[in-house]
């Protein structure tokens, strides 16, 4: 087997450890004709035993009493003699082991479901056990996040939001997925947890469980059969540089080696996402660069009331006295549907009525929100520096209209997000109407490259190092410089330490990212002067494609480090 696989690095950092695959729900193959029933019966019983044994082991290791009780109960079900007998009869009736196990569990699960109530709720447990037993019989990896009792690198086809609830960041060293792109759920989760991650690694599921692998979340390289030395050094590097514990080393504020200030801001959904010491840690928590207000609206049938919104915003403003809070107005649409907006189904939601465009049909929702923001900004002790921006601005006129509406509510700092290439191309004129720009690199990438963010097959096009995307960012930054207005980046690109330096070199004035990324970006930024960053940016812009841009920036870093070493010696 080849010993090196290439994917797309989406969350920087290195890690090494034994690989473990997360299986999917196994699909039953066509039934086999059974020639030796006792062998099939023994195999079915062994599958039940294995599954029960594994669950009992996990129960013994579980520290949380509630989790332990659940695992123990599941182990008990797997060892239930009724199931074993039911498997025996199914084999006697002509089924092979896998089909017999499947039939036995399904029959029991259906019975429980028919009983309803507490018993009905156990049906899902049975189906989970069934999938595990069938996977074992088919020689496939166990469905669900593995729990081997030691740290490991998780290999999966892709991760769904539901999987992540079961993901223990103290056990999972890194993530490698077959599908996904830079803005897929896996990538965002990995950056939020500070885990190195490689996505779009097509051969990943061919890695055998237990293989010692090394992953580089920056280059996207996965090395198989890593030596223990290499693994140990990666583990140390990971612990030192990428784990949340490293936050302690970086105390802020964000600046380059030569003292050029670049505020490192946070992307949050509510005050709950802020660290507990936010109010007093003025240097470390420089502010919020993206407050996603739609989290307040998601899953609701009616719009939240004026008071409810005001309360939520006051909590954020009070938590950050004297610091910037950039609030993004409701960013919804057919891709993030909100029932009360009752938007029609659209054949192409990414190109439909979303972001600021929803105020064409429901201007009242935006007006209520702006009123709530204005009231919150005037509340007692809500002393944050409140900035308001609109998502999905496409024209100068939209920016001008939005600015007028925001100012009519007595809010003085108005901005436009740059997610549509037309807004980047017209950045100068937009800045005649607004006070700042904030570039959402995820959407700007999708619209620049005409590549759906949900489409893992196109991950290479969605790479935030695409020179065309960097061109548009440079255009915005230059317009900001001419107008004397700030231009920030709040997309995921800002959380890639090397790319963050490139963005600063392009002239971006602030970077906003998930909390876990701040220390890594902050540490990296302090290693380079503004001049270094400009060289990195020039090198990236001159590259013909994303991979070359990344490589060129890395080479420029090495050159800068060498120059520094010669200078020092």
């Amino acid at each position: 087997m080849i010993d090196r696989l290439q994917g797309l690095g989406v969350s920087a950092g290195a890690a090494a450890g034994p690989a473990l695959r997360m299986g999917r729900v196994p699909q039953l193959p066509s039934p086999r004709s059974v020639t030796d029933p006792p062998t099939e019966q023994a195999a079915a019983r062994e599958a039940l035993d294995r599954v029960g044994h594994e669950l009992a082991e996990r129960a013994a290791r579980a520290t949380d009493p509630a989790a332990r009780a659940i695992l123990e109960a599941q182990a008990l079900i797997a060892k239930d003699p009724l199931l074993a007998e039911s498997c025996d009869s199914a084999v006697a009736a002509g089924l092979d082991a896998a089909h017999a196990v499947h039939a036995a569990f399904t029959q029991q699960a259906d019975g429980l479901r028919a009983a309803g109530g507490y018993l009905g709720e156990r049906a899902a447990d049975l189906e989970d056990l069934r999938d595990r037993a069938v996977a074992w019989l088919l020689g496939e990896p166990m469905p669900g996040i593995p729990d081997p009792g030691h740290p490991f690198v998780l290999i999966a086809d892709d991760l769904a939001p539901a999987d992540t609830a079961a993901l223990d960041p103290t056990r999972v060293l890194a993530l490698v997925t077959v599908r996904g792109g830079p803005t897929s759920h896996t990538a965002i989760l990995a950056r939020a947890l500070g885990l190195p991650a490689v996505v779009a690694c097509r051969e990943a599921l061919a890695i055998e469980d237990g293989t010692l692998i090394h992953i580089d979340g920056e280059t996207g390289t996965v090395t198989l059969n890593a030596t223990p030395d290499c693994a140990a050094s990666a583990a140390n590097a990971t612990n030192a540089a990428t784990r949340p514990a490293a936050t302690a080393r970086f105390t802020g504020p964000g600046r380059t080696a030569d003292g050029h200030r670049v505020p490192l801001l946070l992307n949050i959904g509510s005050a709950d996402d802020l660290p507990a010491d936010a109010a007093t840690n003025v240097e470390g928590i420089e502010g919020v660069g993206l407050l996603r207000t739609e989290l307040l609206f998601l899953g609701r049938h009616d719009a939240p009331s004026l008071d409810e919104q005001r309360e939520a915003y006051v909590r954020v403003f009070r938590a950050l006295p004297g610091r910037r809070v950039v609030l993004r107005t409701l960013d919804a649409g057919a891709d993030k549907p909100l029932p009360f907006l009752s938007l029609a189904d659209e054949p192409n939601p990414a190109l439909g009525i979303r972001g600021l465009r929803t105020s064409r049909t429901r201007p009242d929702v935006l007006d209520t929100q702006l009123e709530a923001v204005a009231l919150a900004a005037q509340a007692d002790d809500a002393d944050a520096d409140v900035w308001v921006m609109a998502p999905m601005v496409s024209t100068v006129q939209e920016a001008a209209d939005f600015a007028a509406r925001v100012r009519a509510h007595g809010l003085s700092k108005v901005g436009a997000m740059v997610e549509v290439p037309s807004a980047a191309l017209r950045a100068g004129q937009i800045l005649e109407h607004v006070d700042f720009l904030s570039i959402g690199t995820n959407d700007l990438g999708q619209y620049t490259m005409a590549a759906d963010r949900q489409c893992g097959e196109l991950a290479d096009l969605l790479d935030p190092w695409q020179p065309a995307l960097l061109d548009l960012i440079a255009l915005c930054a230059r317009a900001g410089k001419v107008a004397g207005n700030p231009v920030g980046v709040c997309g995921e690109a800002a959380s890639d330490p090397l790319l963050a330096c490139v963005l600063v070199g392009l002239g971006v004035t602030s970077l906003s990212m998930s909390r876990a990324a701040v220390s890594r970006v902050g540490v990296r930024l302090r290693q380079h002067t503004l001049n270094d960053c400009t060289s990195l940016a020039d090198a990236a812009l001159a590259a013909p494609d994303a991979a070359a841009a990344r490589a060129a920036a890395r080479a420029a870093v090495r050159a800068a480090v060498r120059a520094l070493a010669i200078h020092d010696s």
Binding site: A69, E72, A73, L76, I77, D80, L82, G111, L112, L119
Partner: protein, 96 residues
């Protein structure tokens, strides 16, 4: 045929944790024990699915039996399991 009747003391009945503790204890006995309510169907006490399916509530009187098995081991098994059911297993601290 050795039998013992006992009233379920656990507040939640024979569900969840009490059921799990009972089934584990039954599986550890040297003789198979059956459980029934009144003249209802017999459930294998070692089967969590069978025990849960009886839906035994708090205060219900159940009968434990060892069928054809008799002798000191059968009586001890019934004694141990009856003792367990006569205690409120929900109230016990999870000391493990």
């Amino acid at each position: 045929m050795p039998e013992r009747t006992v009233t379920i003391a656990s507040a939640s009945g024979l569900h969840a944790r009490p059921a799990a503790l009972f089934v584990k204890a039954a599986a550890a006995q040297p003789v198979p024990v059956k459980l029934r309510i009144g003249d209802g169907p017999l459930a294998d006490a070692r089967s969590i699915l069978a025990v849960l399916a009886l839906r035994v509530e708090h205060g219900t009187t159940v009968t434990l039996s060892t069928g054809a098995q008799d002798g000191p081991a059968a009586h001890e098994a019934l004694e141990a399991l009856a003792d367990l059911l006569s205690r409120d297993l929900d109230a016990q601290p999870a000391n493990d």
